[in-house]
Amino acid sequence: MELFKGVNVDWMGKAKYFAALSLILLVVGWASILKNGGMRYGIDFRGGTLVYVRFAGPAPLDQIRKGLSSAGLNDSTIQTISDNVLGGGSQNDVVIGLEQKGQSDESTLDAGREAILNVLHKAFGTADAGGKPDFNSITKEALAAVLTEKDPLALGAAAGDRYNQLAQRLLAARDADHSGIVTSFDQLKNVDGVTPAVLNTLNNGFVLGNFTIRNVEIVGPKVGAQLRHQAFWATMYALGGMLIYIAFRFEWVYGAAAVIAVFHDVLITLGFFSLFHYEISLTVIAALLTLVGYSMNDTIVIFDRVREDQRLMRREAFPDVVNKAINQTLSRTILTSGLTFLTVLVLFLMGGQVLRAFSFAMVVGVVVGTYSSFGIAAPIVVLWNKYRGQGTAVRAGSAADKRVVAAARR
C-alpha cells in the first residue's frame, strides 16, 4: 500500500500563510492565558493541598461545599473528575483543593489536609456506627488484627499468617477491582479464602464508608517555586544542548531554526492548555519535553534531507531544494505523525484521569510539532539564506560562480 506518491507542493511559497496561522494560534492561546491571569499551574508549581476523594455514589457537591464553608475553608475549590474524557462515566470522584495560605508558611503544611479530612468525616463519616471500623479506609494491619480476634475460620492459635494474607487479598480486591471503594461486602465473596463466615464477620464487624481518600498532594509554596525554576532550567539546558549538536552537525542557523520551532510548539501547546483549562504539572512538563523531542526529531529528518539534496541539486534555488526535501519526506512525516497521534489519542481517551493532562499535551504537541517542522523551521532557514544573499542571488549565477562559492565555503 502506498499513499502520497509523487507529491509536489510548493511549501516555501506558502510560508506567509504558515506564519499567519502560527501567529493566530499564538495570539489566541496567549490571549486566553493573559485573560486568565497567567498560566494555570498545578499544585506542583503553586503550592497548596489537593485531596482526591472517591464517593460510593455521585459526589454530593453541595454538601461538600456547605461543609467546607462552614469550616471556614471558603477559598477551597471542588472539581469533579471523570475517568471518561467523552463525558458520561461516573461522577463519583472529586478533587478538593486548598491554596497555601501565606507565602512562607511551611510549618502549617498539614493543616489544609487535616481541615478537609475533618469536613469530610463530619459530613459523611461513619462515626455514629457504634465504633465499627470503616472497611473502605482500614489499613491491612488493622483488618488483620480484627480478623485474628474474631477468628471466622476457627483457626485458633494455628492461624499464623493466614489472616494477614486474607486481609491483604481483601484489600487488594478492594483497591484493584473496586477502585478503593466497596459498596457491599458481597462484592468480596469471590476473593480467595473468603467463606460465608468471613463475610459474616465483615458484615457484623465493619461499616462501609461513603468515601475513600485516593490521593493527597501537599506542596509547600517554596518548593513549588523551586520546582518551577528547576523544570524551566532543565528544559533550557536540554534545548541548548540540542542547538549545539545541530549546529555542529549542520550549520548554526539550522540549530537556531529547530530550537525556534520547538519554542513555537511549546508556546502554542501552553496556549491550548489555557484554552481547555488544563493545569501545568510536573507530568505535563514531561509531556512538553516529549513533544520537544518529537518535534526536534521531525525537523531533523527534513533538515537531513535538505542537506543531502543540496549536494545533489546544485543548480536549483535553495527554496526548491527545501520544497523537494519536504515532499520526499512527506510520506514518512504523515505516517509517523499519524501513528504517534493515534497512540496519544488512545492514551488521551482511555488512559484514565491521571494521564489526561499529559496526553492532552501530546495530542496537541504531535500536530503542532509536525506542522512546525515544515511550517516554521524550514522557512526560517530559507529566509536566512535569502537574507545572507546566498540563497537566490548566488545560486542564480553561473555554475562557475557557484563552484567558487562552494569551494570558499568549504
Partner: protein, 544 residues
C-alpha cells in the same frame, strides 16, 4: 545464510536471551507460569505514583545546629573570660555565626585575643565596626560548611534508623539533590504517612536535669520575679506540664533547672514502652542508662534523696519538661518517662529515644500520598491504552508495508523487551513520566522503521534492484536516524543532569529506549531484511 548474517543472528539471540533472563529469570529461575508472573512483578519496579505510597520531602533546619554551636561558644566564652579575669562588657550572639563582645578592657585585650586564638580556633576575631574596644567573632566558613555537612549526615542517619524501626516495606531515605538540606523519604504502600511523619519529626533530645528550685511557676515572669529578676548562674527556665490532678486541667508551668544536664540521650542504653502501673490503660516509657552515665546518676540521685525536702529531677524532652518527680532514693541506671501515652505513642517515643536525637528540627516541604486504588487504576488505564495503541500501530504497519511491516513489528517488540529488561537490570523505577518516555521511544521506533522503508521504496522507484535498494535505503536513513537519536539523547542527558524526580524518570526511560531503538531499527531490522533477500532470487520483488 552466509556466515556474517549467521553471526548477526547469534548476537541478536544473545541479546534477547540476556534480556529475557534479566526480566523473567531472576531472582529464582521460574518453572511455572505463576513464577514467571511473580518474577516480572518483582523485576519491574514501579514508582510511587503507580504503586501507591507516601512521598515526603523534608528540610533539615541546619541553621539551628549552627545557632546552637554559636550559643555554646557564647556560654563557653563567658565562663572563660570570667576565669581568666578578663574584663569585658556584654557578650552576645549577633546571628547564627557571629558573636559580639563589647568593651574589652584595654589592659586585658591582649589576654582576650590570646584566649580567642588558643581556645576558639573555630572563630576569627576582628574589631567590631563602630564599637570602641568591641570585637566581632565570626565562625570560620570551613567550620560552618563542615557543621552543615555533619548535621545533614547525622539527620539522615537518625531518620533512617527511626524509619527502619517502624518496620515498613522498602522505605527509601536519601538526600533529594535539590537543595543541600533536603531529605526525601518514600514509603511504598503506605497510605497514611501521619505516624511516620510524627516519628521523623520528633526531636528526641532527652536530658535529665536537676530542678534548681523545688516549685514550678505559672509563668516565666513569675519564675524570674521569685529570683529577684536574675536567674542564678547556670540555670534556665524550661516550660512543662503541671502534674495531673483529678479535676484540674493540666496547664503549662515553668521550672528553673540546672542548665547542664546530668545525663543526656547519648547516655541511653535502651528504651521501651510499658503499661503504667498506676493508671491502667496508660503507658509509660522506661529507659536504661549506660554504666558510665550510671556513675554520675547514682551519686546525684542519692544526694537529691537526702535533701530535706527531697530534691526533684526533671525529665526534659525537646526542651519541655515531661515530668519532674521527687527523687525518693538512689537510682543507678534506669528511669521512667510518664505522660499521657497510648501504647502506640509510647512505642514511638521509645523508638525515637533509641534512634537518637535529631541534630536540628525538621520542616515538611512536600507530601504526596497516592492511595493503592489510584495507583492500580492508573496502571490499568495506562497499560490498556499503551497495548491498545501499540496493536493499532502494528496492524497498520503490516497493512501498509506487508512483510516489511512484520519486520518493523518484530523490531518494535524487541525494542520494548530491551527497554523493560534494561530498566529491570539497572533497577530503574517506572513512573508515570517514565511512561511518557516509553511513548516517545515507541514513536521514534516507528519513525526509524518508516524512514528506512520509505527510503527503500524511493530507491526501488528509482529502479534499483531490491538488494541495492535495501542497502542504500539503510545507508541513507542511517545518518538521519543517528542525528535524530543523538539530538534526543543529548537533551535527555541534560534532563538527567539538571532535572529532578519526575523529569529524571522520563530521561532515564528515554535514554535506554533510544539506545535500544538504534540497535533494533538499524541492526536487527537490517539483519531480517538480509535474511529475506538471501533466501530469494536477487531480482525478486521485495514485499514493502
Amino acid at each position: 545464510m552466509n556466515s556474517q548474517l549467521r553471526w548477526k543472528f547469534v548476537l541478536i539471540l544473545i541479546v534477547i536471551v540476556i534480556c529475557l533472563y534479566g526480566l523473567l529469570g531472576l531472582p529464582t529461575f521460574p518453572t511455572s507460569l505463576t513464577q514467571v508472573k511473580a518474577n516480572l512483578a518483582d523485576r519491574i519496579k514501579l514508582g510511587l505514583d503507580l504503586k501507591g505510597g507516601s512521598h515526603l520531602v523534608l528540610q533539615v533546619q541546619v541553621d539551628e545546629a549552627i545557632g546552637q554551636r554559636c550559643d555554646q561558644a557564647v556560654d563557653q566564652l563567658t565562663r572563660q573570660v570570667h576565669e581568666k579575669n578578663i574584663i569585658v562588657g556584654d557578650i552576645r550572639r549577633v546571628d547564627d555565626t557571629h558573636i559580639q563582645v563589647d568593651n574589652v578592657d584595654s589592659n586585658t585585650s591582649g589576654a582576650f585575643r590570646d584566649l580567642i586564638s588558643t581556645q576558639f580556633s573555630d572563630w576569627t576575631s576582628a574589631p567590631a565596626a563602630g564599637v570602641v574596644n568591641g570585637y566581632l567573632l565570626t565562625m570560620r566558613p570551613t567550620v560552618v560548611a563542615d557543621l552543615r555537612r555533619e548535621t545533614m549526615v547525622q539527620a539522615l542517619e537518625t531518620i533512617t534508623r527511626r524509619i527502619n524501626a517502624l518496620g515498613l516495606t522498602e522505605p527509601t531515605i536519601a538526600t533529594t539533590g535539590r537543595g543541600d538540606n533536603e531529605i526525601l523519604v518514600q514509603l511504598p504502600g503506605e497510605g497514611d504517612p501521619s505516624r511516620a511523619k510524627a516519628v521523623i519529626q520528633a526531636g528526641g533530645q532527652l536530658t535529665l536535669n536537676r530542678v534548681a528550685d523545688d516549685q514550678p511557676y505559672p509563668s516565666e515572669a513569675a519564675a524570674l520575679a521569685a529570683k529577684g529578676g536574675v536567674l542564678p548562674p547556670g540555670t534556665v527556665i524550661v516550660p512543662g506540664k503541671s502534674e495531673a490532678q483529678s479535676g484540674y486541667p493540666t496547664q503549662t508551668v515553668y521550672y528553673i533547672l540546672d542548665r547542664a544536664p546530668i545525663v543526656t540521650g547519648q547516655d541511653l542504653r535502651g528504651a521501651s514502652p510499658a503499661p503504667n502501673g498506676n493508671n491502667p490503660g496508660q503507658f509509660e516509657v522506661r529507659f536504661q542508662l549506660s554504666t558510665s552515665a550510671a556513675t554520675r546518676f547514682g551519686p546525684f540521685t542519692e544526694a537529691q534523696s537526702q535533701l530535706s525536702p527531697k530534691g526533684r529531677m526533671a525529665i526534659v524532652l525537646d526542651h519541655s519538661v515531661y515530668s519532674a518527680p521527687v527523687v525518693n532514693s538512689r537510682i543507678d541506671d534506669s528511669g521512667v518517662i510518664e505522660g499521657n501515652f497510648t501504647e502506640e505513642s509510647a512505642q514511638d517515643l521509645a523508638l525515637v529515644l533509641r534512634a537518637g536525637a535529631l541534630p536540628a528540627s525538621i520542616k515538611y516541604l512536600e507530601e504526596r500520598t497516592v492511595g493503592p486504588s489510584l495507583g492500580a487504576d492508573s496502571i490499568r488505564a495506562g497499560v490498556r491504552a499503551s497495548i491498545g495503541s501499540l496493536i493499532v500501530v502494528m496492524i497498520f504497519l503490516v497493512i501498509y508495508y506487508r512483510m516489511s511491516g512484520v519486520n518493523a513489528v518484530v523490531a518494535l517488540i524487541l525494542n520494548l523487551i530491551i527497554l523493560v529488561a534494561f530498566m529491570a537490570i539497572a533497577g530503574a523505577v517506572l513512573t508515570l513520566p517514565g511512561i511518557a518516555g516509553v511513548v516517545l521511544t515507541i514513536g521514534m521506533g516507528v519513525d526509524s522503521n518508516v524512514l528506512v522503508f520509505e527510503r527503500i521504496r524511493e530507491e526501488l522507484r528509482n529502479g534499483k534492484a531490491p538488494a541495492t535498494a535495501v542497502d542504500s535505503g539503510f545507508h541513507n536513513a542511517f545518518r538521519t536516524i543517528i542525528d535524530t537519536h543523538v539530538t534526543t539523547l543529548v537533551s535527555a542527558a541534560f534532563l538527567l543532569l539538571f532535572g529532578t524526580g519526575p523529569v529524571q524518570g522520563f530521561a532515564i526511560t528515554l535514554i535506554i529506549g533510544l539506545l535500544a531503538n538504534v540497535f533494533t531499527s538499524i541492526f536487527v531490522s537490517r539483519a531480517i531484511f538480509d535474511w529475506h533477500l538471501s533466501r530469494k532470487d536477487r531480482q525478486a520483488e521485495l514485499s514493502i
